[in-house]
């Protein structure tokens, strides 16, 4: 879980995120059990508005450059704006994002 946690925290620190998913898909590949070599990341961010896919992926690759140069062999990247995410997964809408209120405060 070391690499997975590292990927998660780096992405969380680098993007304004509505949704983040980091999946270790190494189990489906020809690597020893417990490997952290193949990952899939899903990011939903308002920062992707009007940004081409190539540029979005470049940003993710840059944030994870150290991991990609090291033990991470494959990285599947899926990036969406809020609207794209809702359109794609309209059947199961995501939970609303935190708006910064503290617990105990009324919504």
């Amino acid at each position: 879980m070391i690499v997975q946690n590292q990927i998660e925290s780096k992405l969380a620190d680098s993007f304004e995120l509505l949704h983040l998913e980091v999946l270790n898909e190494s189990g489906g590949h020809n690597v020893p059990p417990g490997s952290e070599s193949h990952f899939k990341v899903v990011l939903v961010s308002p920062e992707f508005e009007d940004v081409r896919l190539l540029a979005r992926h470049r940003r993710v690759n840059e944030v994870l450059a150290t991991e990609l140069a090291g033990s991470v062999h494959a990285l599947a990247i899926h990036t969406y704006t809020d609207a794209e995410w809702r359109e794609r997964f309209g059947e199961t809408p995501m939970s609303p994002p935190c708006l910064g209120g503290k617990s105990g405060e009324k919504a």
Binding site: L53, N61, A69, L75, A76, H78
Partner: protein
């Protein structure tokens, strides 16, 4: 630390002018070129296989380079492309993207439009 050192060594050792020239030539001389692991007939990686399938679905001919049998290209191209992974699809001298981008463009129909426009200008 180990990871960084490995990448640095890789980059400096093989970024020869000759390899850079070869890559530039390949990209300039082929309207559609895919840098992949294995060949379209026998891809050696799931991401490469999926990208090839998207291209085949579009019905256009494309050139390819097997980076597994060309380690110097494998080591050099990411630096030129500003793109760390393979496969890489290049159309008209421009990087289009890797497997996830190609798949998404294929689903939306954008990929077919791109490669067909490209053939029309050939």
């Amino acid at each position: 630390m180990l990871a960084l050192n490995r990448a640095q060594v890789k980059r400096s050792a093989v970024m020869s002018e000759e390899v850079v020239a070869t890559i530039n030539e390949q990209i300039a001389n082929n309207h559609i070129i895919l840098y992949m692991k294995g060949s379209p007939q026998a891809p050696q990686c799931g991401f490469s296989a999926q990208t090839v399938q998207c291209l085949i679905d579009c019905g256009e001919k494309f050139a390819y380079v097997d980076i597994l049998s060309n380690p110097e290209i494998r080591a050099t191209l990411p630096g030129i492309a500003n793109w760390p992974t393979f496969p890489q699809l290049w159309v008209d001298g421009e990087l289009v993207g890797g497997c996830d981008i190609i798949t998404e463009m294929h689903e939306s129909g954008e990929l077919a439009t791109l490669v067909k426009n490209n053939t029309a200008t050939e």
